[in-house]
């Protein structure tokens, strides 16, 4: 009898699987659907959560304020736990449900979906700022709102040259590039950074930060032997803060540490504490500690919910404004009276010139030849546990 019930429950379970998964697809009219995948439970969920809240917050705020030309925007989203196969499943599912654009998250899913979105003609924005994704020949439907990793690295290298000369350094400055062992980590180094350093008289060397390491003293000791006075991190906050602590114990006080955008955030300051003092950050998105016109709307929206932008951190406004740029593309497509599809949204985005994000990023410009929206950003520095501006917006050319 027991056996029979188990068999029956298995059969019923299988039927349920079939039933729930066979939900009908989307309609042509009604709300405008935009797909999104977030990392809410995977390895990057610490920053993935505020980023996703920013995107969802923007959509809620937009809909509460009349939506897009009277139409509501529906965000079709799901957690994918940074698992690429799951990202692929969700992407196909959402496209089938009729989304016209897609918000991705990490390097893994953005890379994996790159050729797929080009075949499906779905404009795609994510928080992966790999230089190659801004090249329409390689990735025709990817758009970068943040400054590309390579551009960030170039700007940082230029600043290092200035700082080195201002401090009266002679000879070529030595720079150590400490990176995450992944495509994300090596992206700025391989995609132009190595050559840029050589051309500008900087002696640079890459050091890999091994996966799962709990101590970076060996790498830092090698950097000391190399004699670098500048260390540039391309990794996420927790390994970077660990390295900062190790460096402090090693007494590397004459070395300047610089974080590219994924470790230049509040989490780094929180984790590294004192060791973060004096760390320079490459920040394409203005943190909430600094006044900016574009931060008012998210701050007010959060205040109305009894929360604060300071507590959410800069990844919230990063998500908010990335979504805002995508939605702006959709809005302009609607206003031009064109059919709402991926191809038209892409064409409209490519006409975007100097779109003002209220000082959260440099003005955004896309062209058919270049999908790197903002080429400029500001450098910040940690003083008394707060990110304070160090420079104004600057680009590689300046």
């Amino acid at each position: 009898m027991v056996r029979r019930w188990t068999l029956m429950s298995v059969l019923v379970g299988l039927l349920l699987v079939a039933g729930v998964a066979c939900r009908p697809g989307g309609q042509a009219e009604g709300p405008i659907k935009i797909g999104a995948i977030f990392d809410l439970s995977g390895p990057t969920s610490d920053v993935g959560l505020p980023y996703s809240e920013g995107i969802r917050g923007f959509v809620e705020w937009l809909n509460a304020n009349g939506g897009l030309n009277g139409r509501q925007v529906e965000l079709v989203w799901q957690d994918y736990a940074y698992e690429v196969p799951r990202a692929e499943q969700l992407y196909t599912q959402f496209v089938q449900e009729g989304v016209v654009a897609f918000m991705g998250w990490g390097t893994g899913d953005t890379e994996a979906l790159r050729s797929r979105i080009a075949d499906d003609k779905i404009p795609f924005m994510s928080a992966s700022y790999s230089h190659v994704l801004g090249n329409p020949e390689e990735a025709p439907y990817n758009f970068l709102v943040g400054t590309s990793y390579s551009d960030q690295f170039f700007i940082v290298l230029k600043w290092i040259l200035e700082d080195w000369q201002a401090k009266g350094g002679t000879g070529a400055p030595k720079v150590a590039f400490m990176h995450h062992p992944s495509p994300f980590g090596l992206s700025p180094w391989e995609q132009g950074g190595k050559d840029f350093a050589a051309q500008n008289g900087i002696e640079a060397q890459a050091f890999e930060m091994p996966r799962g390491a709990t101590d970076f003293t060996p790498e830092l000791s090698r950097i000391q032997e190399f004699g670098a006075k500048y260390v540039v991190f391309q990794t996420v906050s927790s390994p970077a803060s660990l390295a900062l602590k190790n460096a402090k114990s090693l007494g590397m006080t004459d070395v300047t540490f610089i974080c590219l955008n994924w470790c230049a955030d509040e989490i780094l300051v929180e984790l590294a504490g004192d060791a973060a003092e004096g760390t320079v950050g490459a920040m394409p998105f203005t943190p909430p500690t600094v006044e900016a016109e574009g931060l008012k709307a998210p701050a007010e929206f959060l205040a109305s919910k009894g929360e604060s932008l300071e507590a959410k951190g800069l990844h919230y406004s990063q998500g908010w404004w990335t979504m805002a740029v995508m939605v702006e593309g959709v809005r302009r497509t609607l206003e031009a009276g064109k059919a709402l599809n991926g191809e038209n949204i892409k064409a409209t985005l490519e006409e975007m010139r100097n779109y003002d994000t209220g000082g959260v990023t440099a003005p955004i410009t896309f062209t058919p030849e270049d999908h790197r929206g903002s080429k400029a950003m500001r450098l910040f520095v940690v003083r008394n546990g707060m990110w304070e501006p160090l420079t104004d917006f600057r680009s590689v050319e300046q």
């Binding site: 056996r3 029979r4 188990t6 068999l7 298995v10 059969l11 349920l16 699987v17 729930v20 998964a21 939900r23 697809g25 809410l40 439970s41 969920s45 799901q78 957690d79 736990a81 690429v84 196969p85 799951r86 692929e88 499943q89 969700l90 196909t92 599912q93 496209v95 089938q96 893994g108 890379e111 994996a112 790159r114 050729s115 797929r116 075949d119 062992p181 992944s182 495509p183 980590g185 090596l186 391989e190």
Partner: protein, 347 residues
């Protein structure tokens, strides 16, 4: 109602499907597979293709773990070898996929033999450690041999062309996977009706006894590694052409563990178990995801907890099925068949 099975000639006795019900079921299943892509939505086709590739990989692993009893944690590595070999041949040398995939399978088989060498001296957990080393070594080689693999950068593989058409949709790729999976299943089913397959099983059951009755244990162990890796490489190569972009991150130790879970849940040493396991491990997260999405609209409060709950539910369901039937879904399926076989007089 039947009271036994009788055969009057050896042909019938040796048939792969001996009972008429088996033949009908197989016919229905094949018919379903042929009709499915015409009625399924793109989402279901994606799932079907993922299941197809996972089935090939799971059968490959089952040959080694389930049939020969040699535990392996190197599944991800062998898939990576297959994927990168086929991908590099297609992307750099322009080799057509129908040639690059078999080459990739053979290369993976060779690599499998190399990493199978420790099995001469090592058994059980010790062999698991040795294959774990294979996983790490292959990962290291892929990420550091930049001139060949592109290092940590993703490798872009052109979508295969067949009869002048680009096989770049789920619908078109479905047929390639179907042929590959059919071949894999048929080959494996027949393998274990042969001398070689029985030698594998003898090694699993008692290697010393196998040696005594004249099985060259070392040779057959390596042959098991080669055969298994061949199909695992096939799964990897198909992944490369199906996804058209691959990076080492797709073939980590987590993949090895996922596949082990697949064949354990599905049923060790069975072919339909490999399919059940692959389907189960693909559909369950998708199912939980969809339930999660549906619940989110009904109860927004649940939304914040959901991501964490999803992982927990996944684990709990796995444990539930293992407790209900430790021999896997294949055994569960057999129980269902047995139940209806004597229904309604189940004494």
């Amino acid at each position: 109602m039947e009271s036994g099975i009788f055969f009057t000639d050896y042909r019938a006795d040796m048939a792969l499907r001996r009972k008429p019900t088996q033949q009908v079921r197989l016919g229905l299943f094949v018919a379903f597979l042929l009709i499915f892509p015409f009625v399924a939505s793109p989402y279901w086709l994606t799932l079907a293709n993922q299941i197809g590739i996972a089935t090939i990989g799971a059968i490959g692993l089952n040959i080694l773990v389930g049939y020969t009893g040699q535990i392996s944690l190197g599944q991800g590595a062998f898939m990576a070898v297959g994927a990168y070999t086929s991908g590099i041949l297609a992307a750099r040398l322009g080799v057509p996929f129908w040639l690059s995939i078999p080459i990739a399978c053979l290369v993976t088989a060779a690599v499998g033999v190399v990493f199978g060498l420790p099995s001469l001296r090592l058994k059980g957990l010790y062999l698991a450690m040795a294959t774990l080393a294979a996983q790490e070594i292959v990962e290291w080689v892929i990420t550091h041999w930049t001139s060949l693999t592109g290092g940590t950068e993703a490798l872009v593989v052109p979508a295969p062309t067949l009869l002048g058409a680009r096989v770049n949709t789920d619908f078109r790729f479905y047929w390639i996977i179907l042929v590959a999976a059919g071949f894999t299943a048929l080959f494996t089913a027949n393998l274990f009706r042969s001398r070689v397959g029985r030698a594998f099983v003898a090694i699993r059951d008692q290697d010393i006894a196998a040696e005594v009755i004249g099985v060259n244990v070392f040779f057959y162990k390596l042959l098991a590694f080669a055969t298994s890796s061949f199909f695992v490489g096939l799964a990897g190569a198909l992944t490369a052409h199906y996804r058209t972009i691959i990076s080492w991150e797709r073939f980590t130790i987590e993949v090895s563990i996922l596949y082990l879970a697949m064949i354990i849940i599905g049923g060790l040493g069975t072919i339909n178990g490999s399919f059940f396991g692959a389907a189960f491990m693909t559909l369950l997260p998708a199912f939980i995801n969809n339930v999660g999405r549906a619940l989110r609209d009904v109860a927004p409060l649940v939304a914040t907890l959901l991501p964490a709950v999803q992982q927990g539910v996944f684990g709990a369901v796995l444990i539930f099925f293992l407790i209900v039937e430790p021999e896997g879904l294949a055994k569960l399926w057999r129980n269902i068949k047995d139940y209806f076989y004597v229904w309604p007089f189940s004494y």
